[in-house]
């Protein structure tokens, strides 16, 4: 009996691997066109940063050339905490923060449900497991987000190659003069690289969960509202704040959101979304 169960589990795992391979091929390799808007957006943002840098460099002749890390920090700096009572500071959501995250939301919504309307239905029935299907889609979701982020780093690397400084070492002077931000090198990896990825994965997992419980439109609207509200309010529980370095404790001190809380909240939300999605997908009718 025990042996039979082990064989069954192994078979289920093998089928999961096959399902995942299917999603990787169809949801990533053949989804390459989805990367084009990310490249265009990143090129635009990096280009603007470079132009701002040259403006500053004219005034400050000793300014070092921007590194890859400087481009990345500028891209993910987001916006300063918004204070409605300060009339001189209008509410302007940064273009990269807004469009990049809304685009991720769109890309995440597109593939799983499209797949279920087409060949995915045959694959699902053949794989015999709704759990495998949903877990595979969650892994795919994390993978595509990492791919999108890697694309932004690659574009940043390309731009820094133009300036001749392909390195992940931050230049404090460049950050202060061009991006108006001061991030310590020691916090770069955890705050500027990993935290935004973990947060984006969390937002996408919640979106997937809502799409299984309600529908695609509702889940997309909720994501966009969370992204906009996060820009308006600096709050530990509005996870969009963890996507903006200018809202982070390590950049603005006590008024900022904590990186540690960010990791805890995002990981917990992701796990809850995964298990709720699994439960809801078991009951969902597939037409």
């Amino acid at each position: 009996m025990q042996k039979g169960k082990i064989i069954l589990n192994r078979e289920s795992f093998v089928r999961f691997q096959r399902q995942l391979r299917y999603d990787n091929v169809n949801g990533i390799l053949h989804y390459w066109k989805m990367a084009i808007p990310v490249i265009v957006l990143t090129v635009f943002v990096c280009g603007k940063f470079l132009s701002d840098y040259y403006c500053q460099a004219r005034e400050l002749s000793s300014l070092p050339v921007p590194s890859t890390a400087d481009f990345i920090v500028d891209m993910f700096k987001g916006m300063e905490k918004y204070e409605p009572e300060v009339k001189t500071k209008p509410f302007e959501i940064p273009a990269f923060y807004l469009f990049f995250n809304i685009y991720i939301s769109y890309a995440i919504a597109k593939y799983p449900f499209g797949d279920l309307k087409g060949m995915g239905k045959n694959v699902l029935v053949n794989s015999k497991s709704r759990s495998n299907w949903i877990f595979s889609k969650f892994v795919w979701c994390a993978e595509i987000i990492v791919v999108f982020y890697v694309i932004t780093y690659m574009v940043a690397t390309g731009f820094s190659a133009l300036t001749g400084s392909v390195t992940f070492r931050l230049n404090e002077e460049v950050n202060a003069a061009v991006s108006n931000i001061g991030l310590a090198q020691t916090n770069f990896l955890m705050d500027a690289i990993i935290l935004p990825i973990v947060t984006s994965i969390c937002i996408s997992y919640v979106q997937l969960m809502l799409s299984f419980r309600f529908n695609l439109l509702t889940s997309n609207i909720v994501t966009i509202v969370v992204i906009c509200l996060s820009a308006y309010y600096s709050n530990t529980f509005l996870v969009g704040n963890y996507l903006m370095l200018l809202r982070n404790f390590s950049v603005i001190g006590m008024e900022g959101v904590s990186t540690n809380y960010g990791y805890i909240i995002c990981i917990l939300l992701s796990i809850v979304s995964l298990f709720l999605s699994k439960e809801w997908f078991r009951r969902i009718d597939i037409f």
Binding site: Q19, V25, M119, K121, V123, N126, S129, R282, I286
Partner: protein, 224 residues
């Protein structure tokens, strides 16, 4: 292999799409669901392959009820509504992707199935450029290539020319002779009567009539 549907009711947005349906089906037979558009044929097929869950009642396959833990039948091939494939791959590559999930059949078996249905397995034409009839045949090939115990074909003759209808009809009878349980949905009673051992007429989600036939042997569309 048998399928038992007991008092199956499905209500969607306050509309009863399947109403207290009870049917028994055995291996080695072809069953037909006949009814006009929206009568509930496709919905009943979805219920049998586990894509929808009942509001009331159950589907039992070989003593195992379909449930949250056992969502799908062990061995089933489906063509429900329009076939959906990846437009950037050839027909063969599409079938191979589906076959890789179970990894039970070889490339040769896939090619043989395609050839049987009149598709060229070595044709590199992408699925997106297939004609409607070719798409339909590929959908049928996907459902039957692994020779599953249960084969569910929803409107399999859609978009097929007369020759292809004959080929598909004969293939259905071949599978019947191999002891497979085949379920067809069609609104054309002539096709069903030629192929099926039993026909269930569905109207507004209810079984209105149940007819049995003596099987006539080879299927030839020309004779009709």
């Amino acid at each position: 292999m048998y399928i038992e549907i007991n008092n199956y009711t499905k209500i969607l947005s306050k509309t009863t799409v399947l109403n207290d349906i009870s049917i028994k089906m055995d291996k080695g037979k072809v069953y037909g669901f006949q009814g006009c558009n929206g009568s509930g044929k496709t919905m009943l097929m979805r219920a049998i392959c586990g894509l929808i869950s009942p509001t009331k009642g159950e589907v039992i396959i070989d003593n195992k009820p379909l449930s949250k833990k056992n969502s799908f039948p062990d061995s089933v091939g489906i063509l429900i509504e329009n076939p959906g494939f990846l437009s950037y791959y050839s027909g063969f590559k599409n079938l191979k992707i589906i076959a890789q999930i179970k990894n039970m059949i070889t490339d040769e078996t896939i090619r043989a199935t395609m050839s049987k249905l009149g598709l060229d397995p070595y044709d590199n034409k992408k699925y997106g450029k297939y004609s409607l009839g070719m798409k339909q045949k590929l959908g049928i090939a996907a459902a039957i290539m692994e020779e599953p115990e249960i084969i569910i074909l929803d409107e399999p003759f859609n978009a097929l020319d007369e020759k292809s209808v004959t080929i598909v009809g004969n293939e259905i009878l071949n599978l019947r002779n191999k002891n497979k349980l085949i379920i067809l949905a069609c609104h054309d009673s002539k096709e069903l009567e030629y192929l099926c051992d039993e026909i269930f007429v569905i109207e507004n989600g209810k079984i209105k009539d149940h007819r049995k036939f003596t099987h006539i042997g080879d299927y030839d569309n020309e004779e009709k």
